[in-house]
Symmetry: C2
Subunit: 296 residues, 2 copies
């Protein structure tokens, strides 16, 4: 069997995600019949059924599940090949950093300032996206390095360096009955609603899913939800919100991640600088905390 074309992988991913040939075809910008044929041919060529379908429902077979995750990774690798080669070809080298808004624990300004003085430094572009997208953005070459939190992130294909570990706090409206406590434990929060992050931006919004930090904070301010977040978000808090340490919540680790095996000098210098800055911050009280202490 000769090698699959990326088109076939993309077609399969679309169908596997939509579980609906019509919608998948629309998303791909082609008609439904060619898509049906392409998937059939794909299954025939692979010798394995990937989808169970009757005229009412499409579901993934076990092989299909595996093929979906593997196909996504393969497509990322193809995109990454192009992007990284283009980057290497353009003389004006830049470093693209991805993070979710507010996801730097207040560390980024210091890192950038220190990095600029490094002889290997290049200009840094910052790309913002939601937390669960960051790893993919690094994998497919849209970014060179990312600041992200270890929890719940698939780090396969990435090299990482731990930057700092911080405790978690719960964000509450001032009116909340726990708002004046010095600390709380997770048991105190039982029964509170915690929104989920909605993966799909064109998902229909509902009261329990949020797309960004702004939405989350709005919900909390309205008393509809609370959230447990790393302590460093204190510094970005709206006036109508407060936060209280959660004593028994698992501390979160901020990490720096980049494509596995990549050792470009500009990247290496950035990693070096970031770990140094983070180590220094970990030892001394953070600037955010100090500011707050002085202010109160």
């Amino acid at each position: 069997m000769d090698r699959l074309q990326t088109r076939e992988l993309a077609y399969f991913v679309a169908v596997a995600e939509e579980l609906h040939f019509g919608r998948a075809a629309e998303r791909l910008g082609i008609a439904q019949p060619p898509l049906s044929r392409a998937i059939s041919r794909l299954e025939r060529r692979m010798g394995v059924p990937l989808l169970e379908r009757n005229s009412r429902k499409v579901t993934l077979t076990p092989a299909g599940e595996v093929f979906l995750t593997e196909s996504r990774r393969a497509l990322d690798a193809v995109d990454a090949a192009v992007r990284r080669a283009q980057r290497a070809g353009r003389p004006a080298s830049r470093l693209v950093l991805v993070m979710k808004p507010g996801g730097d624990c207040g560390l980024l300004p210091d890192i950038l300032a220190a990095y600029e003085t490094d002889p290997d430094a290049v200009p840094v572009d910052i790309v913002l996206c939601s937390a669960h997208e960051c790893a993919g953005v690094i994998r497919d070459g849209r970014a060179d390095v990312g600041l992200l939190h270890r929890s719940n992130t698939d780090l396969t294909g990435l090299d990482i360096e731990e930057l700092l570990t911080e405790d978690q706090v719960v964000v509450l409206p001032h009116s909340h009955h726990l708002a004046d406590r010095v600390s709380v434990c997770l048991a105190d929060l039982a029964g509170e609603t915690m929104p989920h992050w909605s993966a799909d931006p064109h998902n229909t919004p509902n009261r329990l899913s949020v797309r960004d930090v702004g939405q989350l904070m709005q919900l909390i301010a309205l008393g509809r939800a609370i959230a447990v977040v790393p302590a460093s978000v204190r510094g970005q808090l709206r006036d109508d919100l407060t936060c209280v340490p959660v004593t028994d919540a698992q501390p979160t680790t901020l990490i720096l991640a980049w494509p596995q095996g990549h050792r470009a000098s500009a990247l290496a210098a950035f990693v070096r600088t970031a770990t140094t800055v983070a180590a220094h911050r970990q030892q001394t009280p953070s600037r955010v905390k100090r500011r707050r202490i002085h202010a109160t």
Copy 2:
């Protein structure tokens, strides 16, 4: 720009490896003109020159170098997607283990014996290939797990577990002036010729490159070369060769490697078994050594 097709990647890899359009076309089974066109179109689409060519010589640009390694990885990922899905689809699950001949430090029989008793065990197929190919065979899905030595192996995309570390010995013909020494140090070996492993099987053989252990041992027996290898090869030595411990050579580590993020139960059981067996072996004298001690 829409996504590259794998055909274009494969074409580029062929040209980049051959550095000759005619030979690359022959290897790909197409004529030379379509290949020239495909590469031109690829460069136009990517907006980056990948190859410098005049009518006498083809060379890679920096972007081309990057694109070559990235393309190989992407093609591996595509192949892996197919192979792993096919494996998941076939009911008769098997575990494919790759290693170089003699590369198991004598550990494999015990591992296989112990593994068979595991409730999650499946039949194990063993694939042999040269040391530098093993990692690729795992990456592109031809094998599920590999036994390999850490030195000089690119482990990106793989999860690993250390099995055991062993000292190195130098293999010598009996006639060698160091053959009767109890031990030697690297300085004693200065000036000796050590063959290189030839990556390309259809490379023209020369007196300094070998393709397999048999060739290597033959060269040593003829007094044309010596080699520093892990101590466990003692057990596989020809009668006309002997080995002497090298006191100051970096010990080598035997590792188990598998595709990053893969957690199939049969694989997990194998990893568990192998580490247990290796830990046990590390503590007690190895069977190979014991046998030799009893024999002398």
